[in-house]
């Protein structure tokens, strides 16, 4: 891959769209995960009373569904990322690469 090709790919609108979507997705999900986990750890550190309070009147406390929920949610977020990446991003990136390839090929002919 030479510098010329790199610049063409970087200028390709489909590539730009894919990159923008992908970084938005990656960083949004990362921030969601961080906020959830750090938020939970702050609760653990500073508001134990809430986590010890009853969840539904019985012995189960709020801490249990929240804790187990974070484990399940970690997996679900991975699923969301993978679904969007498989269904939208991969296709965009493939189209962008095809376009770029076509351009370089054309140039070679002239």
């Amino acid at each position: 891959m030479d510098q010329n090709q790199v610049e063409q790919i970087l200028r390709n609108p489909k590539f730009q769209k894919m990159v923008k979507k992908k970084s938005t997705l990656s960083w949004t999900l990362t921030v969601i995960m961080l906020v959830l986990y750090v938020g939970f750890m702050l609760l653990v550190g500073y508001n134990k009373e809430f986590l010890m309070s009853s969840f539904s009147g019985g012995v189960t406390t709020w801490g249990i569904p929240l804790g187990l929920g974070i484990i399940v949610l970690s997996f679900l977020l991975c699923g969301v990322y993978s679904f969007i990446a498989n269904h939208t991003l991969d296709q965009l990136s493939e189209e962008a690469l095809k376009e770029v390839e076509a351009i370089t090929h054309d140039k070679g002919l002239h």
Partner: protein
């Protein structure tokens, strides 16, 4: 009066226990040698025989360095996901976390959460880009556009530090566990583990290691599933029943009031200090994304898409496993803690606490006996041993790649070497690492090595993670910034741990009060490392820095598209 002093004593021991636990993984502690357990030994021999057979098959297919480090890139996303799960679910998390749930309920869940939440980060930020940029390991990625010699040396050294501490902790854990489960002598146990891991790695390389990890993951997950199922069956498949009955049993066997027993349903001593809790959480979360033996697994699949699939599969299995350990821990309260067969009465008379035969880390093993009898307990014991083997094999392979691929082939020989000599070097490195691990495993027998897993995660989080992330995402990173930031992260993490209670007071016994009052270094050392990377990069005006910033575009395109990525087309 008497009751109060007893309670104070119990509290004191509990606190000292938790402060070590809080900073490291749940450890296996020192164990007493048990009577020889034939069921377990026979099942373990079957496992060993089978895996050695696979190693023999793998040896035929392992010809090149590519085969040795990455199994030729021919592992499928699903297989790799299982292998990652097998690499990550250590004996400490199976026995240690279920024991932590057994003795304090919710705190055990807090631990598994930390080990879990790093995985989404690995998926969102690391896995695909890593696969697109690297060839064999994470050093390839960080030295992609930066100057080979200093950056690769740094990455290799911090990888080796992580591997060494993790390996020692596993070896000591293995020795203690085998002494306990099989009734074998500690030194013999350590040597057996060392020889087996050497055989897997030297002869079968990544292919054999992968299959050992897959088989172990399947065994561990099915064993744990059966246990959790039987526990849930015992309580009529109701979590509410399980918790209510557990609190009743807990109150009876620990001789505390029902109100006190209900405290196992919320955070306890583990999070007594919020700063430590947060620091531990960060180390586990971002440390996972910097563990060299885990990151290396992403090069065994053919492209970024399969790497993505691997993480989703791995996260699913790992999360499922932690849900099971939570149930298993409560199951142990229900079916083990009130069964005199499993209690160490003599020890209880001395300590005044609930003590299980062979130590409280045996909770899951005793539970397997209570639920499925001798034969099933033999199976679970064999699984625990297999678990250690799978983890140490992965660690050794990644250490060998740091020595032969990074230090020998690319730094020392500057890339002027033949694949054959690099392969030979990697086998010598494996031999060296195995001997190193066996010797240190034996030397550290009586030491508390719990802090070592914590240290490994902290170094991965404070030295590897910042440099790796910035090299992939930030155009401005230069060699100077990466090297200074990485060294600062590595040194700060290690120094803070050495000065903390677990090492300074409990292990080195230098004084009664630690110089550093905090247990985990991540909250301080990781931001410091990021800051140094940034500061020494933006102030770097050298010609080299300009060239490195200019090279970012090409790296970026490759990391996003995979054009030119090493893979099936490489040979």
């Amino acid at each position: 009066m008497k009751w109060n002093s007893l309670k104070a004593k119990v509290l004191l021991t509990a606190t000292s226990l938790y402060s070590t636990v809080a900073m490291a993984g749940p450890d296996l502690g020192e164990a007493e040698q048990q009577a020889t357990n034939w069921h377990a030994i026979i099942m373990f021999l079957i496992f060993v025989g089978f895996t050695l057979f696979i190693t023999k098959w793998a040896a035929k297919q392992t010809q090149s360095t590519q085969d040795f480090y990455t199994a030729g890139g021919g592992i499928s996303g699903f297989q790799n996901g299982l292998a990652i799960a097998g690499d990550y679910m250590s004996a400490a998390s199976f026995l240690g976390i279920s024991a932590l749930v057994f003795s304090s309920g919710f705190d055990g869940l807090l631990y598994s959460l930390g080990f879990m939440v790093g995985w989404p980060i690995v998926l969102f930020l690391i896995a695909e880009r890593l696969r697109n940029l690297g060839k064999y390991n994470l050093s390839d990625v960080v030295s992609f556009r930066l100057e080979e010699k200093p950056v690769r040396t740094l990455a290799a050294i911090s990888s080796l530090v992580v591997v060494a501490f993790y390996l020692i902790a596993q070896m000591v854990g293995a020795g203690q566990l085998i002494k306990l489960l099989f009734g074998l002598n500690y030194n013999i146990a350590v040597v057996i583990v060392g020889l087996l891991m050497m055989a897997y790695v030297i002869f079968g390389g990544m292919l054999a290691t992968t299959w050992v990890q897959i088989i172990k993951a399947v065994m561990l997950l099915s064993g744990a599933t059966f246990m959790a199922f039987m526990v849930m069956k015992g309580v009529g498949f109701s979590f509410s029943n399980m918790f209510t009955q557990s609190i009743e049993v807990f109150s009876k066997v620990h001789d505390v009031s029902l109100t006190d027993a209900a405290k196992i349903m919320g955070p306890g001593k583990l999070a007594a200090n919020p700063i430590d809790a947060l620091s531990l959480g960060l180390a586990l979360m971002f440390g996972t994304a910097g563990l060299p033996h885990i990151l290396m697994r992403f090069f065994t699949v053919k492209d970024a898409k399969e790497a993505r699939k691997s993480v989703v599969v791995a996260t699913g299995f790992i999360g499922y496993f932690y849900l099971l350990t939570f149930i298993i821990g409560f199951g142990a309260i229900l079916f083990v803690s009130n069964n005199p067969q499993f209690l160490d009465v003599a020890k209880m008379a001395v300590t005044g606490k609930l003590e299980l035969v062979g130590g409280n880390n045996m909770a899951a093993v005793h539970l397997s006996d209570a639920l499925g009898g001798d034969l099933f307990m033999g199976f679970i014991s064999a699984v625990a041993f297999a678990t250690i083997l799978a983890v140490v094999a992965g660690l050794t392979l990644s250490g060998a790649s740091a020595i032969s691929h990074d230090l020998y082939a690319n730094v020392f020989k500057k890339g002027q070497t033949t694949p054959a000599s690099e392969l030979r070097m990697s086998k010598i490195a494996t031999l060296g690492l195995a001997i190193f691990a066996m010797i240190l495993g034996i030397l550290f027998e009586k030491q508390n090595v719990a802090f070592m897993v914590g240290l490994a995660f902290s170094v991965a989080c404070c030295a590897n993670f910042p440099v790796l992330v910035l090299s992939m995402f930030w155009k401005g990173l230069t060699t100077r910034g990466a090297v200074i930031g990485g060294v600062v992260g590595l040194v700060t993490a290690v120094v803070l741990i050495v000065l903390s209670k677990a090492v300074w007071v409990d292990t080195l016994k230098i004084s009664d009060t630690p110089i550093n009052p905090f247990n985990g270094p991540a909250l301080f050392a990781m931001p410091l490392s990021f800051l140094c990377c940034w500061f020494f990069s933006v102030t770097d005006n050298s010609a080299r820095a300009k060239k490195e910033r200019a090279a970012f575009d090409a790296q970026y395109v490759r990391s996003m598209t995979g054009i030119g990525a090493s893979g099936a087309s490489d040979h």
